[in-house]
Symmetry: D2
């Protein structure tokens, strides 16, 4: 069958026929999503990328929607599903309880990234345990559930961490809490929508004017946009939560950390590409006096995929037309040139690009 493969740490992709079949029920792939991690692998920049044992290539792709081809125990022929992308090490306690996002050994595998073939191929075979049901109604935007699952997990973790104290308003909601999300890519926008759904007042920032499509989304969903081209200039104690989702330079962290309130939390989600985070003496003292927490956020598991499907369903009807605004491009699998381009660089205005299989 046809597949898109890579040979990390080498750059570039190959369209090749592979004869690879593992255990599980057969699923025909309908769509793949393309994300920044794919591009890092394709550029040969992701150090952790690794071929599966016994192979000299890796099938790319960790975002996929497929259709079940045969009856299983839980799923039936014709069901639409999304496979979970990370699989546990089988040894550490966190993996044993289904949380390889907190794998202690580091020996987890990740489809299309590290030690496990990915989903950019005609068919996959998978244990039903790793499949997430896709409601038919959101099929056209369900590919977003994979990145959104990472954010569902992140919010879950943030809320768990903040249980160190009362981090709610006097009406027990989050309405009085303010969040800043840095970055307007897929992650920045989805994280902002999720925070809005939780009840936060959300400001989303980028170092330029917002694009027209972005503005439509921000207006529709009541997000505040902040142009940080001239830096960040807020009142002290402006934010209860800041999310770094730009994956740009480390500068944005130190520039915004100072605006956190007492008990605030800074979530690092983006893959910082350059720069050094510098926290000076005074800010370090404040970090302590204000009981600030900073935490690295990664990788949702099955419950988070399911929460993501629930939220996508809700958003589709709460914000009519948002599905079409978020899916910015669709490429047929036959258009190899366009796929090659899409896997090497992000297009202007891109939020999510999908590859469509026949």
């Amino acid at each position: 069958m046809q597949a898109i493969t890579v040979k990390p740490p080498g750059a570039g992709i190959t369209f090749q026929n592979v004869d690879y079949k593992n255990k599980g029920i057969k699923i025909k792939i309908l769509e793949n999503g393309i994300c920044g991690t794919d591009r890092e692998i394709v550029k040969g920049q992701l150090n952790s990328a690794a071929v599966p044992a016994g192979f000299n290539y890796l099938i790319l792709g960790h975002e996929a929607i497929g259709i079940v081809m045969e009856d299983g125990n839980t799923f039936k022929k014709g069901d639409i599903v999304m496979p979970v992308n990370r699989r546990g090490c089988g040894k550490c306690l966190n993996c044993l309880v289904g949380r390889p996002d907190f794998c202690e050994t580091g020996n987890f595998v990740e489809a299309g990234i590290k030690g496990m073939h990915g989903f950019m191929r005609e068919y996959i075979y998978d244990d039903e345990k790793y499949l997430v049901r896709v409601p038919a109604d959101i099929k056209n935007m369900a590919i977003l559930a994979q990145p959104l699952a990472d954010l569902e997990k992140s919010m879950d973790e943030i809320i768990n961490i903040q249980k160190r104290m009362i981090w709610k308003c006097s009406d027990n909601t989050f309405h009085c809490l303010h969040a800043l999300v840095i970055g307007t890519g897929t992650i920045g926008i989805l994280f902002s929508l999720l925070l809005k759904t939780y009840g936060f007042d959300v400001t989303i920032a980028n170092r330029r004017d917002a694009h027209e499509k972005e503005l439509k989304i921000f207006n529709m969903t009541d997000l505040k946009y902040y142009n940080s081209a001239n830096g960040y200039n807020f009142d002290n104690n402006s934010f209860d939560l800041i999310i770094e989702a730009s994956g740009s330079s480390a500068d944005v962290i130190s520039q915004t950390l100072v605006f956190l309130k007492n008990n605030g939390i800074f979530g690092l989600f983006g893959f910082i590409r350059s720069g050094e985070l510098g926290i000076n003496t005074h800010m370090l003292q404040d970090f302590v006096y204000k009981s600030i927490a900073m935490v690295g956020l990664i990788n949702g598991q099955k419950p988070h995929f399911e929460m993501a499907m629930d939220h996508l369903m809700q958003w589709k009807y709460m914000y009519p037309g948002i599905d079409k605004l978020l899916i910015t491009d669709e490429i047929q699998i036959s258009d190899r040139e366009k796929i090659t381009t899409a896997l090497s660089e992000k297009s202007k205005d891109e939020i999510k690009t999908k590859i469509l299989w026949d």
Copy 2:
């Protein structure tokens, strides 16, 4: 009555007679502890130091043991007590539930530090709600309960944060977890003892050989000592928890952060005096991939004072002689010269210096 006062931001202390009496039962002060924060105030270096409203001086002292002089509702004449040092803003939710360590407004007061007279005086008058019972048996080391309360709270917070995943061994204890404590002052040693009590394997570090008295404590309590004069050199993934308790330069943070395991946590307790924390691109990426958390740790409340008393009681008998090793100096209130010196600089080998009232 006699009191030791300061006039922040001015430096220096004054022994003066004050005629200050607030509501509550009368308590005769028996002892005060001296800590680094006192010295910062005395040197005029603590920005947050502030006199109470309506006063042009501040009575110093936030560590005290006293004897109750009259029967109250909960306490009786002759009871030995320690007053809690921070008092809430009366408005925010965290203060309302007794947790001014997480005060949202910043309008809490703190005895001997910010907006509330301290305990270095012959008598205090206090609401019984803020008094903690001192078991007679540990009277000679109970002054340590105030700093230890801060650490009880810190451990409580760390364990709460780490509930984001499973942070225990397969026998449900902490025995397989490794902690590094940086600094061998009162905080460093008490934090190490507390971690040991929780079951951690503990390494305590300083940039020199351990003093003889320190070595006695480390041997008695099964702590490993690490001399970091030539930097920190451990295997990768050596520690589940690192505590900065040196309050020295920010360098120690970036030097040790790299040794944290997956899901590890870095606790900032010390008042960093100089330097900048620099976290480079690679380490920032690891911060995310390893799901690391960093958190500022401060200020125990009443339940933590009570836990501190329980632990001191336990340690006194588990480690015979430890009380005398931890209390390194006792100064009579009449010895003004020695007190003046003690309040301006830490003596060599000091762990805890006490002022004794008649």
Copy 3:
């Protein structure tokens, strides 16, 4: 303005003109829901029913949807809202943090039930803090958000209680957990839908064949129906969770308790009207050996209302037509005879009956 009033502990209702206006923004009532508690008050059977201080009558109604008549701080003229029904005592810690469902003093008030006028009137005036936004898209079924909020809170509480151990499957979801819901009224059906959404395998039971409309719902939402006319006959260890939502006789509790698994939880939601719960010696021993928990479940707060709106939105599209199946009757406010009947007895096949204002 027109209102429906009661005089507890007296029975019966009155349609009367009232001249009552309290602080807050003006809201025109669009719909009221009728629930079992209303009927108990109307029959004079609810002991806790009480008129507000200074009144000799109580305006009935705790389920309402209204339209905002003037711009406020958070809401604007034309917004559709639902008011939260319970308001705190203003003194205990749980009420101070917005959780009067756990009021310690018992001095909370509850609209249309206890000490606070209800919502069955032309206009209410309310603090915006107590208003919940209703997405326009679900206006026709949003009245269900009030009872559903109680269940959102219940699930939240159940999941919190079960954090005493691991109560999840090896894929970190709830898919391997089995729930039994007793009762097919509004509560029974909504609780079953909620559990299904959480991932549970759900059996819903009643002492008769399911009605046609119920069967449609159960098929559409993949719930299993169990006819308990001849008692409950399951394998041992069949359920991880049992919810009593029938509000019938206490017998159902002892009859089903025996089917709980190790670590199982029994949630008491319904207002048991008769009978005595008898747990024999053997079952009591099992209660201990199996670490069973039993808990009384009541009353959602603002965050639960918001979660309820989210779930209704999701269900409307996941289960097309469910809104019309759940709202079984609508009565015009002018039809006083029918309202009088509806407030005194539940009609056959009723799930939720609404009163429509002009």
Copy 4:
């Protein structure tokens, strides 16, 4: 070697020589404790008692203190240790994370009770993972750590369950909370001491006057004694927590349940021998309206044994002489007649009886 064995479901004990050796380091048994479960097994009344696979007898005993006979990895020759008594099923998630107290399969084994030889024998061999260090200082009362571990776990569970709301005072302690403990056996007294240590106001009850020895303990530890010979007569809303630790008739539960406050919790610890718990309609309604929780409490694991050692250490010095009051009898292993009697019935005034090996 010599051992005390039973043949469940048969009654009676045998002193016999056994030639049983399993893997692990060698430990010489110094003492065994006798508890109610032992007596139930000896009387043939414990249904769950079972011989290990391949044996036609069971070595009795689940409370033991021993001395390590050879150097291991964690323990050294001469160390005093207590073995943990329950061992997991090896399959379910709770057992995999070291919590067989919440075993889902029920296939755990328990030393001296179910499927695993107990500790009433000259030597045991055990995996160091299951050994708990005994501080030399409390050797004479450390046998109490096994029953106390069950209570440490119980308190941990109770506090976890009560995190469903705020269950603390405005100073963040438990000082304003009231507990009733029913029963003055080992469990009743140790649970009361533990609650006192947590800060609760504690009333301990039995259906008779307190014995002299009990009174000494209650006075020393500031427990209130309640003689329930004429039933329980308290004000409404008297208790936040009630613990059934009498293991007598089910009546005591329904008689005391009515005195729970809003959000109160009823812990079932005792092995109820007779009667039926009857909760009438009115009390069931209150159970719901007051958000009451009832929970079965069993079986501490390794962290709880360690907490138990810590508390025994603390109590020994906080309440001088309590060790001698709690250990009410010591029997030499050679005194077979007295052991036989002690294993068949509880003696008057007994708190804890120990068997001493040579």
